[in-house]
């Protein structure tokens, strides 16, 4: 976990639990601290409790147990409209019976702001998302991407310090989504707002966030900056969920100098970095990223254990080659290599030897 001292904590979840039916916990013992200005993404499969957390923060759900604090004060008993938190909803929730300008003006009106001041702020917010010419239109007359921008502008127009976003890009096509990811991050950093972003798209989480909290089964499995999350997953769920991953199962034989010797179920021996294992005899699931696997003998480090592999399939993907191998009885072992002039193109049926650096191969929980 990132070490954020409680002094500058802006958003805090302390031992928060949530149950809807009194029998099952949707959120189990959630602890989270966010400093001001952070862009935090809650990532996880559906039903993992991430949206529930967001709704508790927004005030639409009450925590069954625990404390949620905003800027040092507990907000458990503050109704949503007094929390001053901006929110972007999954399907934008633009009011269909109002024009774009009226939509943006609404949060200012309920704050009893004067007309001229309102108009000025609406105009500024529309310009901020480059939608200045659309004030008179109705939401239904805008494309998905345009509606998305308006929803963003509406959440920001009353200048909240905290903005929540609930899968805001889910309805957009891939290209537009990538463009909006970029725009949202830039806007958030420029305005210095704190953002809690919920998504089930891991690429989105990795590209946008300062930190990502991976949710599963009502708990945060790991909370870390994107690079740490990808390169040093703390358990096999995170390793599986973030990015592509190869898994081999085995038993720890010995642990020496921070390197674990793992005997795979087929008898082969490999070197790993022990993460969730501490003593010989433990079952483990070994995780290795496809792009960290090396098969060019000249580049393999001396003395490392290697495995025999058979090439099953070679897929040309333009920028990379994707090769499926059979390794230690696993038919789904994938390696990725950059399409470089000197790169060897493997042929199906070819027998090769593969290896990796021990620190890239992580021995996780079984």
């Amino acid at each position: 976990m990132a070490d954020v001292s409680n002094v500058d904590a802006f958003v805090e979840f302390e031992r928060v639990q949530k149950s809807y039916d009194g029998e099952n916990l949707v959120v189990k013992d959630l602890n989270l601290t966010m400093p001001k200005g952070e862009f935090l993404t809650m990532l996880g499969p559906s039903g993992s409790g991430k949206t529930t957390c967001l709704m508790m923060l927004a005030g639409f759900e009450t925590a069954t147990h625990g404390d949620i604090r905003l800027d040092g004060t507990s907000i458990n008993n503050i109704p949503p409209h007094k929390r001053g938190i901006g929110m972007v909803f999954q399907n934008y929730a633009l009011f269909p019976h109002m024009t774009i300008a009226e939509n943006l003006s609404f949060p200012l009106e309920v704050r009893k702001m004067g007309k001229s001041q309102r108009e000025e702020k609406v105009k500024r917010a529309l310009d901020m998302v480059e939608m200045g010419a659309f004030g008179g239109r109705r939401p239904a007359q805008l494309s998905g991407g345009q509606q998305q921008r308006i929803a963003l502008a509406r959440a920001l127009v009353f200048e909240p310090e905290l903005v929540l976003m609930d899968e805001p890009l889910g309805a957009l096509d891939k290209q537009l989504r990538e463009k909006m990811q970029f725009e949202i991050t830039h806007l958030a950093h420029r305005l210095g707002i704190t953002v809690v972003y919920v998504t089930h798209d891991q690429t989105e989480a990795l590209t946008m966030s300062d930190r990502v909290a991976v949710f599963d089964d009502g708990r945060i499995q790991q909370i870390a900056p994107p690079d740490q999350l990808y390169e040093s997953p703390e358990n096999s769920f995170v390793a599986q969920f973030i990015g592509e991953n190869n898994t081999l199962e085995g038993t720890v034989k010995e642990i020496n100098n921070g390197i674990a010797l793992v005997q795979l179920d087929g008898g082969e021996l490999i070197d790993c970095k022990p993460v969730n294992v501490s003593k010989p005899g433990e079952r483990t699931r070994v995780s290795i990223r496809p792009e960290r696997v090396e098969y060019n003998k000249e580049r393999l480090q001396e003395g490392v254990h290697t495995l025999k592999a058979e090439v099953l399939e070679f897929i040309y993907m333009g920028d990379i080659f994707r090769t499926r191998l059979r390794v230690a009885g696993n038919d789904e072992f994938v390696i990725k290599t950059r399409n470089a002039p000197d790169q060897i193109r493997l042929q199906p049926g070819q027998q090769i030897e593969i290896g990796w650096l021990p620190e890239d191969c992580r021995a996780l929980d079984a």
Partner: protein
């Protein structure tokens, strides 16, 4: 392939015929098939709905009876000046006797009497009584007739009798419509009915006002119910929906009679109030056979027609709208009034149109619980259809009712917009 830009002519299909023509041919079969599919319904609607309404509406202006029964008299009366205050001359009387003898032979004179009795009481018996004596006259031999007729009945010597005959001898008349709005057709033009016969305009006003009150009470009672139904989990909502629909499955007559049991002076409500001591035994509330009874019973009966469209519209309002409003700082009330309510207006509109149009033409319930003060215009129409047999007036009243509904519909379209009406 022929390119328009290249040739400048019309686009041609592959076989050389113009594309438009070949498209029309291709679509014609589809259209014919579609027509064949709706034909049974179309014929049914035509026979059972459009034609009856059309003939009914034409009855509101048709007035062939006088001109058909007394053809010679009508022609002879043309030269008579009704304003002169003098009786018509002998030729009119002669023509009248000739016409009457022919009419009596086929017994049409009593129908004519009934028709003219709508305009002036006494005409029916005048025609019936005179008929027996005129039958014995011979149009060829017994001239002159003026004094004979006046001798048979002195009303034939009254200018008013002839005035009525002349005024209502036109084949297309506005008389029924004038009657429907408490006026009458006279030789001097349209005039107000005598004070004691003016009841229809009041009845129209009462029908409109009470229908509005019923619609309003349906909105007030139905809105919260629809809201609860729309916001409950689907399973619970379905169970409660049965309670809303239950009245639909009960006979209208039973429901209305039930209200009679509830509301009458010896009824459930009064008995309870007396028992509790809120009302003295000799001062029981009068809640039935008046407007109150009609409004209560009809609100209850029409409520599902308000709840259902409201419910189906409210179901489509996503809860995120209200959440979004609250996240932007709106209180519960503001979020409801500025966001939820405007989005639910199409449902209110659809329900109101439905309830109002049903209410304005309602018959059974006002008939049973309305007494004299709580009846609607439709009860008057029914009276003219089945009791007084003045179908022309009934048709005119019906036509006015139809026009009122259409005008209100049009006004609603102008103000709210009909595409804002959603039934689901």
């Amino acid at each position: 392939m022929t390119d328009t830009a290249a040739t400048g002519g019309p686009v041609l299909a592959a076989d050389g015929t113009p594309l438009k023509k070949s498209l029309a041919r291709a679509l014609r079969i589809q259209k014919l098939r579609a027509l064949a599919l709706i034909a049974p319904l179309l014929i049914f609607v035509l026979v059972s709905f459009i034609i009856p309404i059309g003939t009914m509406l034409s009855r509101s202006v048709a007035n062939d009876l006088v001109a058909d029964t007394l053809p010679l008299t009508v022609v002879a009366l043309e030269s008579w000046d009704a304003e002169s205050g003098e009786l018509p001359d002998e030729p009119v009387y002669a023509a009248f006797v000739t016409d009457m003898v022919a009419a009596i032979a086929v017994k049409r004179h009593t129908r004519l009497g009934t028709r003219l009795n709508y305009e002036q009481t006494g005409m029916s018996s005048l025609f019936r009584k005179s008929g027996r004596k005129i039958k014995k006259l011979d149009p060829a031999a017994d001239a002159p007739f003026k004094d004979t007729l006046i001798g048979i009945n002195k009303d034939w010597g009254d200018v008013e009798t002839w005035k009525v005959l002349k005024t209502h001898s036109v084949r297309i008349t506005n008389g029924y419509f004038l009657n429907a709005i408490d006026m009458r057709r006279t030789p001097e033009g349209a005039q107000a009915q005598p004070e004691d016969k003016q009841i229809l305009v009041t009845l129209f006003q009462r029908t409109l006002i009470m229908s509005l009150v019923i619609t309003a009470s349906c909105i007030v009672l139905g809105y919260p119910v629809a809201w609860i139904l729309a916001n409950l989990p689907a399973r619970t909502a379905n169970v409660l929906m049965i309670l809303v629909l239950l009245p639909f499955w009960t006979s209208l007559l039973v429901r209305t009679s039930a209200w009679k049991v509830m509301l009458q002076q010896q009824g459930v409500i009064n008995e309870v109030l007396v028992w509790v001591g809120l009302v003295a035994d000799d001062a029981r509330l009068v809640m039935i056979n008046n407007q109150f009874g009609t409004i209560v019973a009809m609100t209850h009966i029409l409520l599902p027609f308000m709840i259902l469209p409201m419910y189906s519209v409210m179901q489509t309002i996503k809860p995120t709208y209200v959440r979004a409003a609250k996240s932007m700082g709106a209180t519960d009330w503001t979020a409801f009034w500025r966001i939820y309510f405007p989005l639910s207006v199409p449902g209110i509109g659809a329900g109101s149109i439905l309830v109002f149009i049903l209410a304005i033409g309602y018959y059974i319930t006002p008939e049973i619980v309305g007494g004299t003060k709580g009846v609607f215009i439709s009860n008057r129409i029914a009276y003219h259809i089945s009791s007084s047999l003045n179908w022309g007036l009934a048709a005119a009243l019906g036509a006015i009712l139809l026009a009122v509904v259409l005008i209100l519909y049009w006004a609603y379209d102008k103000i709210v917009g009909i595409d804002n009406v959603k039934l689901g």
